[in-house]
Amino acid sequence: MSAATLSPMERLPAPPPSSPSLAVAPVAAMSAPAADLPPSRPIIDIDHVDFFYGQSQALHDVSLRLDEKKVTAFIGPSGCGKSTLLRCLNRMNDLIDGARVAKGSIRIRGIDIHAPAVDVIELRKRVGMVFQKSNPFPKSIYENITYGLRLQGVKDKGRLDAVVEKSLRGAALWDEVKDRLHASGLGLSGGQQQRLCIARAIAVEPDIILMDEPCSALDPISTSKVEELIHELKKEFTIVIVTHNMQQAARCSDQTAFFYLGRLIEFAATRTIFMNPSNPQTEAYVSGRFG
């Protein structure tokens, strides 16, 4: 008897019958912390959010709660709404014509960020962002880092110097650039530029750092440095990272949210998502069967 004569076999075993079927899951009742994680204080509470770009709906009834000082990864195929949701968190979508949260609310530390009393400028000081394409300003490294503080009117040289050092150390860049703080930030390598952007973001001491595919343009070594950094930063900051790299989500994040077609399909501890996702779509996506 050989393998060839075996009866035709099924593909992988079907998902365990105990898991609830959540095909196109209206994960409505999921405004709860990710499953199987030690309890932590929620800092971001996204509550039944519908989001539109003009007439087209980009997010459908998304609810999830993100914990403080944890790394949350948003994964999903392109156009699934993960970046849209990320940019909702510091209202960067306000810059786009016709973009609006049509229903639901987003609360950060209990405060609805769309409330009239909320100044979007103040919000963005608390919720920093790192972009897909590293975008250091064509200024010196020093000026890049102090940009945010100078906007706030900080002029004291001593304080600025201290913040520059602290932020660069925090972004694991200090040793590499301490001798050329007044050289242009554009002279740095791609990975260093992205870490400079991270340093710039942490210089204003936000609570939350949003990262929109921060490593997609980086080589593997730079990527691992940024991942290392994320691991360090979560001691002080709450981090939300959008990534196309599943391994990266698995390596860096504590909890993972999977989006598909503008809906939140599954939100759980990263371990669970990658070991035993409860939704077949999640499983298919993380094992590279679609997306």
Partner: protein
């Protein structure tokens, strides 16, 4: 969406099934050789152990290759890990079959101590357990796997009963000692085979539910222990 390397996973699965079927056949043949005092059959079983060993090596190789190059996650990852572990258990099952065959050759030279009833029964249960456990590679079914685990105590009970029986033979008739000892070892081998089936069944629960139930004892309680 089908992936170009899905066939690797299918090959892996078919090798596991083949290995399972081969080791079950080995055990069955060994017991048959014992009961029918068929030395030729016993020799074939001993010779065929190599087949199982080779399968283990190729399964390990495939699993390592798949984990290394295809970065499996979720069900696939569990499947590959479980398959690799099961192949070690099956290899041990093959070894036990060959042990039984060796003892069958020795016993064939002498008249049977008593009619072989308990040992074939025990073998039947152990092989059923093994078969059920391995079925989960094709149809993941945690309940079936848990049922396998629960049956382990049946085999243990027969083993203990045979032990007492054979001990009394040895005490009463010292001339039977060598044959009784061989049978005791055979019984022990079958008990080990059932243990391997249990191990595989425990892995199958992990495959189905990503839940590690080893050494938790909760499932081992069976009606017979009560």
């Amino acid at each position: 969406m089908k992936r170009f390397f899905d066939t690797e996973l299918e090959t892996f699965r078919s090798h596991l099934v083949l290995m399972g079927e081969t080791s079950i056949r080995q055990v069955r043949d060994a017991i048959k050789a014992l009961v029918t005092a068929d030395i030729a059959l016993a020799d074939r079983v001993i010779a065929a152990d190599d087949e199982v060993d080779q399968l283990e090596i190729s399964i390990d190789d495939e699993a390592i290759r798949y984990m290394n190059l295809r970065s499996p996650v979720a069900t696939e990852l569990r499947f590959v890990i479980v398959g690799m572990k099961a192949s070690h258990d099956l290899e041990r099952v093959g070894d036990e079959a060959s042990n039984i065959a060796k003892r069958a050759v020795k016993l064939a030279a002498e008249p049977p101590l008593k009619p072989y009833v308990d040992i074939p029964r025990m073998a039947g249960i152990a092989l059923e357990m093994l078969q059920d456990a391995l079925d989960c590679f094709l149809h993941t079914d945690a309940d079936k796997a848990i049922a396998v685990i629960r049956r382990d105590s049946e085999v243990d009970a027969i083993n203990r009963q045979l032990y007492r029986e054979l001990s009394s033979f040895m005490i009463e008739q010292p001339g039977t000692i060598s044959r009784a000892l061989e049978l005791m070892f055979i019984s022990k081998s079958l008990e080990r085979i059932a243990d391997h089936a249990t191990n595989i069944a425990e892995e199958m629960v992990f495959l189905a539910q990503a839940r590690d139930i080893r050494h938790t004892d909760e499932l081992k309680k069976s009606p017979l222990d009560a």
